[in-house]
Symmetry: C2
Subunit: 393 residues, 2 copies
């Protein structure tokens, strides 16, 4: 096989400003931690690093749950982990769907041979707890699943009512916190959440590759009481938990250097403090929205239901979606996201996640967008930067 | 929740010499590549990096297979990927078992509701093709699976006869190359392999976290012709292949920085050349065995069936398994592996994988082991280093 090694140059991905739906900008400290020497997955030093990572994750999830670990895959692997461990063929499972990730959960439930009870809301709106209450009447669901922060629309789902409904009908409450964790409060024990998964590349500002999960005692009991084996060997938490727990029983080789990175990302979060971090996300979001609305553009999601870390902006008439995004990427090195599914071509998704949530990025985006729109002949009002500035004043 | 961030110090895993069953020592170039800035998983620059990674993987696997990609999980995720995509409930599946990883494949086949046809050999011996021939008589297996390099025993499985049997009975030929890839020849197209998975942390000398896989046209056809959906959404190659292929359809967020690292590890392999790399593994293995045998110790596996990258040494009478390994780790910073299952306490597993396969490590291990054994009062013959040296002469 002819093969010229000169075809391949040193890695040089450039330096983007990541304001899409994830990944977010990764701090140098995290990248440095990831480049520490690789050691064995049963080395006592690594076992300590695992323990510390679990302690930091429990702090972030505000939980005492024993099984609180990073799954060795991305956020979608975390989603699959929760369902394959807690759902058996024939179980009734309620899935709330108001975007791409609720749809994905439904797909997984169907693959597992469970009975799907699907509760829909329009994309861009929250799930109405009354619809869930109606859907579970006369049913005996094992699990009620919802997305906290729908990355495809920017909707923030209130969890209290849904947690109550799950409790009332004896179902486990499963929450997707891929995009919310580290940006808004995810307090498992207080909120009555039984199972949760997240991702590292959103508000944790660590590269993608791991999925933090946590199971409550009730979820662990459901796992122990299964009648059928977990269909996935790789994600079987009855075995994986032995490796992360006191037994240290080898299951699969942990992604060592990714865990170094996650530990550092969590340490940065702990140093900032959860309240300060959530306030920072809220502030930069408020400034971005003020600027966007001052320009005369509007948000997809109504006020009070918006996520601070994922801002869905309606694309104004006359603007060319792809041209704007390409110009931002090529001219300013800035990534923002387009819409998915029915929202393709209708919204831009602007992330202010973790390390990317800062005043500089708000300004860069507003000035960049204003310039690109004017260049395309789209009418925009003046005063975006002033409006954003006044939020910080 | 009271939480003291001062409890957590900068990451400092130390600098080990990794001579266990994996991970192996990671070259600085790979660690540096992993610490390049994270960019988006749909960024044109990253798409080029994906394309290059696929080209490099095809070179390493010596294949023209379209679907040749790193799965977003460790080697065990690659194992699961092959089975969940190619096996349906009720299918007959032949699994050859002569160690931990054949056992794991059987476990996965059972979880999928397939009919397992298990062919066993003693741990430390190769699978006898005649046993496989007998087992498939009158059967109609969909798949025949075997481990090329059994990491738990150090046995190298010859593949030619098994490939022929698979072809004769119309089964897909699936090979676990987690430990063999990059250390001995894995030439998919020439060897008639239909599906393969590997790991990054063995002879590729990249941190763990990805699993290179490849499917032949026949395997892709089996995937297309499935009657039931793939039970795993995360590992469903009918969707993942769209992201890695021309469509670039978003599935899950790729582990960006891990892929940077893999690309660099593959580039290093391409620069060394496959033949030179295989010869290096063989040479260092020969020297290690010469030294071990000169000491009066013996190998678990008979000559001619040994893997060059995983050396299973029988623990001599009077030696304390754990004390020797702990002393090597604590005094010399060197990790070697113990035995698994029935071989626990009976063998040491000494890896010479990828970057770890070098003359310096052979010398360090032989001199370290000799010293520790003498210290424990175990009789060892003199001349190990001289015997090893003569191999290099």
């Amino acid at each position: 096989m002819s093969f010229n090694t000169n075809d391949f140059r040193d890695i040089d991905p450039g330096q983007r400003v990541l304001m899409g739906p994830g990944p977010s900008d990764v701090p140098a400290r995290v990248l440095q931690a990831m480049s520490a020497p690789c050691i064995g997955h049963l080395d006592p030093t690594f076992l300590s690093i695992m323990d510390e990572t679990q302690r930091l994750l429990r702090f972030l999830f505000q939980t005492e749950n024993g099984l609180t670990i990073p799954v060795s895959g991305t956020g979608s692997a975390g989603m699959e982990t929760c369902f394959v461990n807690l759902v058996e063929p024939g179980d009734e499972v309620v899935v709330c769907v108001n975007g791409v990730f609720g749809t994905r959960m439904s797909d997984i439930v169907n693959r597992l041979g469970a009975t799907l009870i699907r509760v829909d809301a329009e994309w861009g709106k929250t799930i109405d707890p009354e619809d869930v209450r109606k859907a579970v009447q006369g049913k005996n669901p094992k699990l009620l699943a919802v997305v906290h922060a729908e990355t495809s629309t920017g909707v923030c789902q209130p969890l209290e009512d849904l947690a109550n409904i799950a409790r009332e009908c004896g179902a486990l409450f499963l929450v997707d916190t891929v995009t919310s964790l580290g940006g808004i409060e995810v307090a498992l024990d207080k909120m009555g959440i039984d199972a949760v998964y997240s991702g590292t590349q959103k508000c944790l500002s660590c590269p993608p590759g791991l999925s933090p999960i946590s199971f409550s005692p009730a979820a662990m009991k459901a796992l122990e009481n299964r009648k059928s084996p977990v269909v996935s060997w790789y994600l079987d938490m009855s075995m994986v938990s032995s490796y992360w727990g006191a037994e240290r029983k080898y299951h699969h080789t942990a992604p060592i250097n990714m865990i170094y990175g996650l530990r550092e990302a969590l340490r940065i979060i702990a140093e900032e403090g959860l309240d300060a971090r959530f306030a920072r996300h809220q502030l930069n979001h408020t400034a971005l929205v003020a600027g966007v609305e001052a320009m005369g553009l509007s948000m997809l999601v109504q006020e009070g239901e918006r996520l601070p870390m994922l801002n869905a902006i309606r694309i104004p008439g006359g603007a060319d979606d792809l041209k704007v995004r390409k110009a931002l990427l090529n001219d300013l090195g800035m990534e923002i996201g387009g819409g998915l599914g029915d929202l393709a071509g209708k919204i831009w998704r602007v992330g202010l996640m973790g390390h990317s949530s800062c005043r500089r990025n708000v300004f860069l985006f507003l000035s960049g967008l204003e310039t690109m729109l004017k260049f395309q002949g789209v009418k925009v009002r003046e005063g975006a930067l002033e409006a954003a500035s006044s939020v910080y004043a």
